[in-house]
């Protein structure tokens, strides 16, 4: 038997791409069920108003209308509100406050785009026509959109929530930190606004609700990153159906970036409406609805201070953040500005005292929740901006001040002052490699050349860390999570020796159908084309927690590794029987089960066949060869890296060109370097997009000004140079694959590198994102006016 070439660590082409790039994928909107109706939502045009009445009479007469359902009927059916799944306690121990988040607004609307009725018709156009005829009597109420203003406003958005504050959360030792600041040689401080972003997945959200009256079975097709979580929320919390009676299918999904983690009003209403009219109900968001109602990201106002000794040693970090959570707490909204943010503020540094305080504030804007990076970009941004400012203030080289304060390889495992214990890392290695690739030593010459051409050149660093592989259950449970954060995997060896892999993780661009197949194929020594990865259907795999927080490989991949262990363990028993020796005498050397020190062997395929055609089979063993595993890790994983951005600014127009962007990441062991590079590139584009292009803007009335691509600047390929990326490696110590996760790093690490480079070029210390040509021109004009 010839040995199958291994695939892990190699640039294996993505198995799913043929389907996806030839238009053969099957997205929710590609699915049509017999006799389906089309839904269109009546949405609030106002940011805050009482609903005095809804008159459906004209709309119900409109051609093709099947029915129109409102929040009142929903309440009469006893359906619950949309929950927030993570309880955060305020510093005084009290539970976070939240208004009920209705599936359809009943007596009040709280942001533009909030749905208040679902129109069901024979065609999408007829549903839309009828929606225009729904007459809603609104009573306008005063509006708050800016969290910093809402925190101190006399206007109270919800009777039960004084100060519009959901919670006031803290982490770290306040007194000890304050004390350090009293005696510090230097204190560097800044106020930043981490700009609000709109996710803009390529595929808009969509749903088809289906109900079988005969069996009282419900099926929901939806654009979800975690169909099992959707099932749990819809059954246990919203109580549409019992859990065993609902099947959630998330077929091909075109990007999520966090925005498809949550259970929204629309899919909930479609499923409920399908049971009311006993016909399938289909809805696909148009792009304007996506802008208005997909959960937005970021939106932090932060005051940060770094205390240093005379020689540049970090002594303390003090952070005060006001986080805008929008009108309601979305599914994981409370975790983002707290446990995914405050815990990361130690960064790569040995800062002994860190204290962070977060006020989470309601406004009349779309809910804000996790968006690629989720809390970690916000932490990295304020920290790396402060570090850069400290270097400039103390006239230290920005690489030296970082080097001086790095946690060193011998310090691991390292307990930070903000709850996390980093298992491993080598931060100087990524800094050194990035500086070499970025040719930092020649930067002064390049800057002089720019200057000779009338241009401004700058260099900016960012040394980020993230906690990903979101888990373990015990830890997140202690921190308030309403769910466990394991992952499940199943390996089914078919009788012919091919393998079907089922995973509770969900791929919506990540390439799991390839990387997970690589892992399993290599374990068994079989061809990757003989492994099929199945995901995204609660009817096919028992359980799952889905994909977010760069967790799929570290948690879901590890589960598959464990399930593969079990397959091999059973295979050893079968082989021992077939070869007439004891189990101890058998070893598995992919792809063969062989007798130690002998030629006698059975192939993986022969063992599979024997398991399903057990004519000659051990008495004490069940037939079949399929195993499941749940994996719950011991810790988060801690990817880290160094990004260096070099820019050139045209002072006449304010246009910034990224001349060079270097990214060196430590993601632990790599399964597929090509897919990892793709993830880094995508993350960089989103991070640099935040730094230079993207900005979600509401006006004072709560109308979304950046509500289309005419005004919301999506990054395009020609906005970027070729990225120079490389990897360093310290293997994760606590999962069997040694992997850490790579999905969010680019978005986390890049914004401060860009802004540090631009401020370096401009010779200033502070500026807010996005660094548009207009903003830069204003800064330059003000400098010239001085």
């Amino acid at each position: 038997m010839s040995e199958q070439e291994t695939t892990v660590g190699k640039r294996v082409l993505r198995k799913e791409d043929f389907r996806l790039i030839t238009g053969e994928g099957s997205y929710t909107d590609d699915i049509n069920l017999p006799n389906q109706t089309y839904a269109y939502f009546v949405r609030s045009p106002m940011a805050r108003a009482g609903i005095k009445g809804i008159d459906l009479r004209k709309a119900l007469q409109s051609e093709g209308v099947v029915d129109i359902l409102t929040g009142q009927q929903l309440a009469e059916d006893g359906l619950g509100a949309l929950p927030c799944g993570w309880m955060v306690l305020s510093a005084d121990g009290s539970e976070m406050k939240q208004p009920a988040h209705p599936v359809l607004a009943n007596d009040k609307v709280n942001y533009v785009g909030e749905p208040l009725a679902i129109v069901l018709a024979e065609s999408k156009r007829q549903a839309k026509d009828a929606a225009e005829l729904v007459e809603v009597d609104y009573e306008e109420l005063p509006v708050l959109t800016n969290a910093r203003e809402a925190a101190v406003s006399d206007i109270q958005l919800y009777d039960e929530i004084p100060g519009n504050r959901s919670f006031n959360w803290e982490l770290g030792e306040k007194e000890a930190t304050d004390k350090v600041f009293e005696s510090a040689d230097h204190i560097v401080s800044m106020d930043i606004y981490n700009n609000r972003l709109i996710p803009n997945a390529m595929e808009p959200r969509a749903a088809i609700g289906d109900y079988s009256r005969g069996n009282q079975d419900y099926t929901l097709y939806t654009t979800s990153q975690n169909p099992h979580v959707a099932r749990l929320v819809l059954t246990a919390f919203v109580q549409i159906a019992p859990e065993h009676k609902l099947r959630v299918i998330a077929p091909d999904v075109g990007g999520g970036f966090g925005s498809k983690i949550y259970v929204y009003s629309e899919e909930t209403a479609c499923l409920w409406a399908a049971s009311k009219i006993a016909r399938p109900v289909k809805w696909t968001a148009d792009r304007s609805e996506s802008f208005l109602t997909d959960a937005h990201g970021r939106d932090h106002h932060t005051h940060g201070e770094l205390a240093l000794s005379a020689d540049g040693t970090f002594e303390g970090l003090r952070i005060k953040t006001i986080a805008n959570v929008g009108a309601y707490l979305s599914l994981f909204a409370s975790a983002v500005p707290t446990y995914l943010y405050g815990t990361l503020l130690a960064g790569q540094y040995k800062t002994p005292n860190v204290y962070v305080e977060v006020d989470s504030i309601f406004t009349n804007t779309a809910p804000v929740d996790a968006y690629r990076g989720a809390g970690r970009p916000e932490a990295t941004y304020i920290l790396e901006r402060l570090v850069e400012k400290a270097a400039r203030s103390l006239s230290m080289d920005p690489s030296e001040i970082r080097r001086k304060n790095f946690i060193q390889p011998e310090d691991f495992p390292y307990q930070t002052p903000v709850a996390l214990e980093y298992d491993i890392g080598n931060y100087e290695a990524s800094l050194d490699r990035a500086m070499e690739m970025a040719a930092v030593s020649d930067f002064d010459a390049r800057r002089a050349d720019s200057q000779a051409r009338g241009k401004l050149r700058g260099l900016g660093y960012s040394c980020y860390i993230e906690a990903c592989g979101i888990a373990p259950s015990k830890m997140v449970g202690e921190l308030g999570a309403g769910v466990g954060l394991w992952e499940s995997g199943e390996v089914r060896v078919n009788a012919t020796g091919s393998v079907t892999v089922l995973t509770g993780a969900h791929s919506h661009g990540q390439g799991h159908e390839t990387t997970f197949a690589q892992i399993v194929a290599d374990r068994f020594g079989i061809d990757i084309d003989d492994v099929e990865v199945v995901h995204g259907d609660t009817g096919r795999m028992d359980m799952g927690m889905g994909t977010y927080g760069s967790r799929s490989l570290a948690v879901g991949g590890s589960a598959l590794d464990r399930a593969s262990d079990k397959i091999i363990a059973k295979g050893l028993k079968i082989a021992a029987h077939l070869l007439g020796v004891s189990e101890e005498e058998i070893e598995f050397k992919a792809p063969e089960f062989k007798v130690k020190n002998s030629n006698a062997a059975k192939t993986f395929q022969e063992i599979a066949f024997a398991a399903y055609v057990p004519h000659d089979y051990p008495d004490d063993l069940e037939p079949g060869l399929a195993e499941k595993a749940f994996y719950d890790p011991q810790n988060f994983t801690y990817p880290a890296g160094c990004y260096i951005c070099e820019v050139e600014i045209d002072p006449a127009t304010g246009v910034t060109s990224i001349e060079k962007f270097t990214a060196v990441d430590d993601f632990g062991k790599i399964i597929n370097p090509m897919i990892v590079e793709g993830q880094v590139h995508g993350g960089l584009v989103q991070g640099i997009g935040q730094a230079m292009l993207e900005n979600c803007v509401y006006d004072e009335n709560g109308q979304l000004l950046s509500g289309s691509y005419m005004d919301y600047c999506m990054p395009r390929a020609d906005d970027f140079p070729n990225f120079d990326v490389d990897l360093t490696e310290t293997a994760c110590t606590h999962n069997p694959l040694g992997v850490k996760g790579c999905g969010e790093a680019g978005a986390i690490g890049s914004p401060p590198a860009v802004i540090n480079a631009i401020t370096d070029a401009l010779g200033i210390l502070d500026m807010d994102m996005p660094a548009t040509p207009y903003k830069i021109w204003q800064i330059i004009s003000a400098q010239e006016g001085q």
């Binding site: 026509d129 225009e132 127009t653 005004d711 919301y712 600047c713 207009y774 021109w777 004009s781």
Partner: protein, 264 residues
């Protein structure tokens, strides 16, 4: 989008007669403004009269001293035409910078000019070249054509047949893109020929306009440095998320200098 009737006449006469007979008709050229507006239900024509079937409206030719571009000629055809490039480098540059590839393959010169979007490119090209708009009824000088925000000298039902460009000895177009939409925050078309210098600015105001200070300065000395002392007043310039009037004023001057520098 609301339901509407669709017509695709083969001749100008059929198109006009359909227009006269329909309740609330719209001519549609490339549709790159009209269709998105209809999708948002901001306009609801009862009838769309598609001009794409009228062969007379398509094509690029030289007629005496003039370049003639049919109203239904796409931006892509203009950008790729060696005839246009030889005749007016500025016009070729302009067409190549409109939208993206998809837009250039559908969008037409007639549609763009008739719409007179304040940040569209073609109005600057026409006004900056001293072009003439030929309709089914008359000829209108560009100087008289672009009236105000989305407003032109066209009468109800009047249709553009072609645009005639006089020969100029040199021309250039410089555009500063809105980073999001890639429309012009400011676009400046400069030409010299027929005894005059023209500087036309789009994007900055409610409608395209000429800057006479710059034209005079360049008439005396056709060089970028001749514009150094020009003060572009931001009064009545557009203001939005992406640019203030002052920024637009600075960009008008900078784009004009760059346009001149490229052909001086």
């Amino acid at each position: 989008m609301y339901a509407f009737n669709y017509h695709k006449p083969a001749t100008l006469e059929q198109a006009k007669s359909l227009y006269a007979d329909c309740e609330d008709p719209y001519f549609i050229a490339g549709g790159h403004t009209l269709l998105p507006t209809m999708k948002q239900r901001l306009v609801s024509p009862t009838d769309l009269i598609d001009l794409a079937g009228i062969e007379d409206l398509v094509g690029i030719s030289i007629d005496g001293d003039e370049l003639v571009i049919g109203a239904m000629t796409t931006h892509g055809e203009v950008a790729a035409s060696s005839m246009v490039a030889d005749f007016s480098s500025g016009l070729a540059q302009l067409a190549a910078k409109i939208g993206d590839t998809q837009v250039r393959y559908r969008g037409t010169i007639g549609g763009s000019v008739a719409n007179n979007d304040p940040s569209a490119d073609y109005p600057a090209g026409l006004l900056g070249s001293g072009a003439t708009i030929v309709t089914d009824q008359r000829q209108i000088a560009a100087d008289d054509f672009f009236v105000d925000l989305f407003e032109t000298a066209l009468q109800e039902g009047e249709m553009i047949r072609s645009v005639r460009f006089p020969g100029v000895s040199r021309s250039a177009y410089q555009k500063f893109d809105n980073p999001a939409s890639r429309y012009a925050i400011v676009g400046v078309f400069v030409s010299e020929g027929n005894g005059e210098v023209r500087v036309a600015v789009t994007g900055a105001g409610a409608s395209v306009f000429r800057n006479s200070d710059m034209e005079q300065a360049l008439a005396g000395d056709f060089s970028a440095s001749a514009l150094n002392s020009i003060n572009v007043l931001p009064d009545e310039f557009n203001s939005d998320l992406h640019a203030s009037p002052a920024y637009r004023a600075a960009l008008v001057k900078e784009m004009a200098k760059r346009a001149v520098a490229s052909i001086q």
